[in-house]
């Protein structure tokens, strides 16, 4: 097991390096210099040269990359070119806010998805199965930004039950602002619920058809111990999917955060794009992608811990 963990961790390093190259390269694929984009057209050449030197854009590309990478490894993402505040501080606050949403949405979506998927598989072909399949297909095809708007329309505009956006008054403690969480969390949980539920249903159906389940039943095991065996066998693929989905929740919440005006990493990214704030943009993408790689690593290790066959 230790060997597996070590090997898998080593494999993540070249991927992380590749990710950093892509993030760095994306900015430089765009014709022109990041400073040219920022400076007003009437700026004098001397000022532009000064700015380039100040931000290190006058050095060759590979030197810029290495310097950027070295600083990033130490958690130093430089200063925002929009408001000159440290990027790292902005990023930590935003990531914290996104994590709140992502964790709650994952808990809600995964638990509902697993439950519904199990029920659908165990009642295969009967009405709970058909109902869930229809529901899951809807969940997967829903544009979640539209769903967010519809939820706001129903619960905040037509009925004044829940707040439409934001995180509420900062001076109040978090437990008095929980109502601000309801709509974004429900919106974000729909896709993971549909996707996880579908996979659970398919995996459980496949396992139920296997010989060892028949043998267990023939041995005289009651319903619940058999379900426990099914769960253990269905866990690895479902776990892998849940890891991916959690990563999507972290990195893909930008649309939902925009609708709800939630000050998370997606919102930060959106602002950075429109302000052409390259340091913030690079840092946000790099950290989110880094999270995603780490998450995949953890999932692989967890899978191997459950299923010894994967370790080989």
């Amino acid at each position: 097991m230790l060997v597996f963990v070590a090997r898998r961790t080593l494999l993540a390093i070249p991927i992380l390096l590749g990710v950093s190259l892509v993030v760095f390269g994306l900015v430089h694929i765009v014709p022109g210099n990041p400073i040219d984009m920022l400076m007003p057209p009437e700026a004098s050449p001397e000022v532009i040269e000064q700015m380039k030197a100040a931000f290190g854009f006058d050095k060759p590309l590979y030197v810029q990359y290495l310097l950027w990478l070295l600083r990033a490894l130490q958690g130093d993402f430089g200063l925002s070119v929009f408001n000159a505040s440290p990027v790292w501080a902005q990023l930590v606050t935003a990531l914290g806010n996104t994590l709140i949403l992502a964790v709650l949405a994952a808990l809600l979506g995964f638990s509902l998805g697993i439950m519904c998927g199990m029920v659908a598989a165990l009642y295969h072909g009967r009405w709970p199965d058909k109902l869930f399949s229809a529901f899951a297909t809807t969940g997967v095809s829903l544009p979640h930004y539209w769903c967010a708007i519809v939820l706001v329309m129903v619960f905040a505009v037509l009925h004044d039950w829940l707040p439409a956006q934001g995180m509420g008054d900062d001076s109040l403690p978090i437990w008095q602002r929980l109502d601000h969480l309801v709509l974004p969390v429900v919106t974000l949980s729909l896709i993971p619920m549909g996707v996880v539920g579908r996979l659970v249903r398919a995996t459980v159906l496949e396992i139920v058809g296997m010989e060892f389940i028949g043998a267990l039943t023939a041995k005289g095991l009651t319903r619940w111990p058999v379900i426990r065996h099914i769960c253990k066998n269905a866990a690895p693929p479902v776990l892998a999917l849940m890891g991916l989905q959690f990563g999507y929740l972290l990195g893909g919440s930008i649309l939902v955060e925009t609708v709800f005006n939630w000050p998370g990493s997606g919102n930060l990214l959106n602002l950075a794009i429109f302000r052409r704030d390259i340091p913030v943009l690079q840092a946000t993408i790099l950290v989110l992608a880094g999270f995603f790689v780490m998450l995949n690593l953890l999932v692989d290790i967890a899978q191997a811990a459950i299923d010894p066959r994967i370790r080989r």
Binding site: I15, V19, V30, T138, M153, V157, L281, F292
Partner: protein, 310 residues
Amino acid sequence: MTQVSATTTDLAGPDLRLSAEAEAPPPGAAGGYWHAVGRRLARDPVTITVTVVLLGIIFISLAAPLVAGADPYTGSVLSRLKPVGTPGHWLGTDETGRDLWARLCYGGRLSLLAGVLPVAISLCTGGLLGIVAGYLGGIVGTAIMRTIDVFYAFPSILLAIAICGLLGNGLSNSILALAVVFIPPMVRISETVTAQARQLDFVEAARASGTSTMQVIGHHVVPNVLGPILVYATSLISVSIILSAGLSFLGLGVTPPRPEWGLMLNSLRQAIYVQPYVAALPGVMIFITSMCFNLMSDGFRSAMDVKLNK
């Protein structure tokens, strides 16, 4: 003499196909297989219904000048944000008084284009790369697959937004960004199925008898892997429609005043306090289209009996 040789080829044709079918029924190799797929599809009411709905949406978009009944660009300040059912504007009007039905019809053109084209591009490039990687293996295969792994490290929407945000907004940039996002999964699927097809006896036989690599790929591998790859590509269209409309929704895709469903949803967002039903309509179109593509893909998958292990 000519007649005799023609007869021999005629005989040899079906004979070869039969033996191939007896070994393992390869998708796309025999007419019998496609017949079976057609029969199964004809018996599936859901797939037929969603295909008809999709054809309807495509027809309305293409025939927009005929069915719209109004200009999608001209509106009047006097008639802005009219409710659904207003005489002359049966689906109401948007925030600048433009007829919503007309904008939905014309909007379908860009929304469908921005949703389908990225998948088509990734199908061609990603499919080709995957087939090459799966067939050749070795250093080339490893190089392609490890590069793809790096792009897999980005959550898809994040990568699309990053590319679009840096290249600037616009229809072509959004199509390009989504194509880049869909290439990695396309490569992976086609690499997997190609590596499997490479092991098939008749592919081995073709290689052993000295057929050139290009010919083996073109005549034996591609027809056998095209089915699963196409099924996977259709399942991506649903995601692509949602994402491309999402990019426009963020202001990164199609630029105003051109009609596009995601962009319309964004500009009508402020109107939910005035005309909630009108404001939700563009989203309904995105939802229906994406759902139909999803169900159609499911139908094709089960009719073609394709199992995809991502």
